[in-house]
């Protein structure tokens, strides 16, 4: 789906974080659950406070298909977090409102870090299994 409005972009971001929060809660990762919940709150606040006439100009070149990633098992985490990071980076480049751009850039970094951590622990667990 094309993300052509500010609201559509924010909603997609909130869906990603909602998915993350639900998965991490189910998996028992308290820290990651709290981080996702905080990101959700920040996004909701950005949607409330960041909207003004000036930013209702059309946005082009963002599609949800480019960021599709499952999050059903631990092995999905790294890919999902990577997709989130890419989405936030791409969307930050399209949005004309500085506070929201800053937020998206920060969230991209958080997801990158979580993705890297997941990759590392997967690698470690493979090494343990192997040796």
């Amino acid at each position: 789906m094309d993300l052509a409005t500010f609201g559509a972009i924010l909603r997609f971001a909130m869906e990603l974080e909602g998915k993350a929060e639900a998965f991490y809660r189910e998996a028992g990762f308290a820290e990651a659950t709290a981080a996702a919940a905080k990101r959700l709150r920040l996004l909701e606040q950005a949607r409330r406070e960041g909207v003004a006439e000036m930013i209702l100009e059309p946005i082009t070149g963002l599609d949800t298909a480019a960021y599709a990633a499952h999050l059903e098992k631990a092995a999905d985490v790294s890919r999902f977090e990577g997709a989130c990071a890419r989405f936030y980076k791409d969307a930050a480049a399209k949005l004309p409102i500085r506070e929201v751009v800053r937020l998206f850039q920060r969230l991209a970094l958080e997801h990158e870090a979580t993705g890297a951590q997941a990759q590392e622990s997967q690698g470690a667990s493979r090494r343990t299994e192997g040796g």
Partner: protein, 483 residues
């Protein structure tokens, strides 16, 4: 069964006794979502009486305490933000992002009004003569009222109410009978904020209610936003009854594009200006004036970009333009499209062909663009209040300016250019109150007045900002000497 809206008078929710009731429709579906009573004059008088009774105590409430009510109201508005935005979209049709923007603007006015302890401060001078001092204080006046339009059903009353109440006046809102549900929802929050009974009042109604407000001797002033004929009527009637009035009226806003403009950014800004809120705002750009060589590339880019806009139900986040507010509005806009064709303008993009899946009864018309619009055509002179954009040509800046000069309105105008010289000339000469330089919607933020000139505004002090503080107060000068 749909809810029948109630009035809020003297701190109580009361059912109107009026037998005259209208359906309120969701413009995206045509379905009735509420019923609005058209209150009798006696009900308006009861609201004014409640406001009058509340005034003496409210005016003595320290500004700092009144300001705390504003903080409380802001917190409630933030808490119910999304619900309010959805209510606006449901009754008006604008897309949810625009509705969120509207609610945000309403909140911003509450935030600015919360500064009333500073905003209401007077000034003084010692020794205006030997041993004599002079002070000027700002005092609240009494009961004020607002007659609101349909196009920003949540925001417009908040250009006035927070300032009036923060200044120590008491207030009566008469919302648009076409879109009254947002104000009902907002008044539930005002009720929750626990203002003393009678400080804020809501009366649903039509012209009968308006006339009751305009002629009631206990109403000190009226704020209005709407069309030019009604604005003139309200201004004249209010003045004849000794009231202050600020009447924001109709518009025909031009967007002048110079040959050196950044075309891609300009096209994006024009689209928002012309088709945002389906063109139903007094700041909407409805006539592009293309200067010199920019005409052909601008025209082509505009048509391509407008054709790509997604029209539909405003609650769908992917939609970029919603329906217009009523079937009657749709018919009026279609009439203007017909008149453009008859008078010889070239229809480059015909919004009449738009169909929205699953919404056969919605009041939809897509972005519509006319080329070859001349200043003498009806679509160049009159406010269409719909998603219809005309393109006219001018050989140079002076001719572009003369097109704006020739219009009776003076609400807004924008210039797109990279030249500081032209920008300065435009700001200096254009006879409009809200001016955009590379901005398509020149909407003043809450701390600035929402300006307007000529047939777009009747009065002297505008809504919002310092103008609002002055409108809702009297200056009292005290000259004192102690023997």
């Amino acid at each position: 069964m749909t809810e029948t809206l109630r009035n809020f008078i003297g701190g109580e929710w009361t059912a109107s006794g009026s037998k005259r009731v209208l359906d309120v429709h969701n413009p995206a579906s045509g379905e009735a979502i509420a019923r609005v009573p058209l209150s009798a004059q006696s009900e308006v008088r009861a609201a004014v009486a409640a406001a009058k009774a509340a005034f003496p105590e409210w005016r003595e409430t320290p500004p700092l305490v009144r300001s705390r009510y504003m903080f409380r109201l802001k917190a409630l508005l933030e808490e119910h933000f999304e619900d309010l935005a959805r209510t606006v979209t449901l009754e008006h049709g604008k897309i949810i992002d625009e509705a969120r923007g509207e609610v945000r603007r309403a909140i911003e006015n509450v935030e600015v009004a919360a500064g009333v302890p500073s905003l209401m401060m007077g000034y003084n001078a010692e020794d205006i003569a030997v041993g004599i001092d002079e002070d000027c204080v700002f005092q609240p006046i009494g009961v004020f009222a607002c007659v609101a339009p349909f196009n920003f059903p949540a925001m417009v009353p908040f250009w006035f109410l927070p300032y009036a109440v923060a200044c120590g006046d008491t207030y009566v809102v008469k919302p648009s009978e076409v879109c009254p549900t947002s104000q009902s929802r907002l008044f539930e929050l005002l009720d929750e904020a626990d203002f003393p009974p009678g400080v804020v009042n809501l009366v649903n109604g039509d012209k009968e209610a308006v006339d009751a407000l305009l002629t009631d001797p206990d109403v000190a002033g009226v704020s209005f936003v709407g069309s030019t004929p009604v604005g003139k009527y309200i201004y004249a009637t209010a003045a004849a009854h000794g009231k202050r009035a600020q009447c924001q009226a109709g518009a025909k806003n031009c967007l002048v594009v110079m040959p050196d403009a950044n075309l891609d950014r300009t096209v994006a800004a024009i689209l928002t200006s012309a088709f945002g809120t389906a063109g139903q705002r007094c700041l909407a750009g409805s006539l592009v004036v293309a200067v010199g060589d920019v005409y052909a590339p601008l025209r082509d880019k505009l048509v391509a970009a407008a054709s790509a806009l997604k029209v539909g139900d405003g609650l769908d986040e992917s939609v970029q333009m919603g329906p217009v507010v009523t079937r009657k509005s749709l018919d009026r806009i279609l009439g203007y499209v017909e008149s453009g064709v008859k008078e010889g303008a070239k229809l480059l993009l015909d919004g009449r062909k738009v169909k929205v899946d699953g919404r056969p009864n919605g009041y939809f018309i897509g972005p519509t663009i006319f080329d070859g619009v001349r200043p003498d055509m009806t679509i160049a002179k009159e406010e269409i209040f719909g998603p219809v954009l005309g393109i006219a040509r001018a050989k140079d800046f002076a001719e572009a300016l003369s097109i704006i000069d020739g219009l009776p309105f003076g609400n807004a105008a924008s210039l797109f250019t990279q030249s500081g010289k032209w920008a300065r000339e435009f700001k200096y000469r254009v006879p409009c109150g809200n001016v955009g330089i590379n901005v398509g919607i020149a909407a003043p933020i809450a701390s600035f007045p929402f300006a307007g000139m000529r047939n777009s505004f009747f009065g002297d002090l505008h809504g919002q900002g310092r103008d609002a503080i002055q409108f809702f107060t009297d200056r009292k000068v005290v000259i004192s000497r102690w023997f």
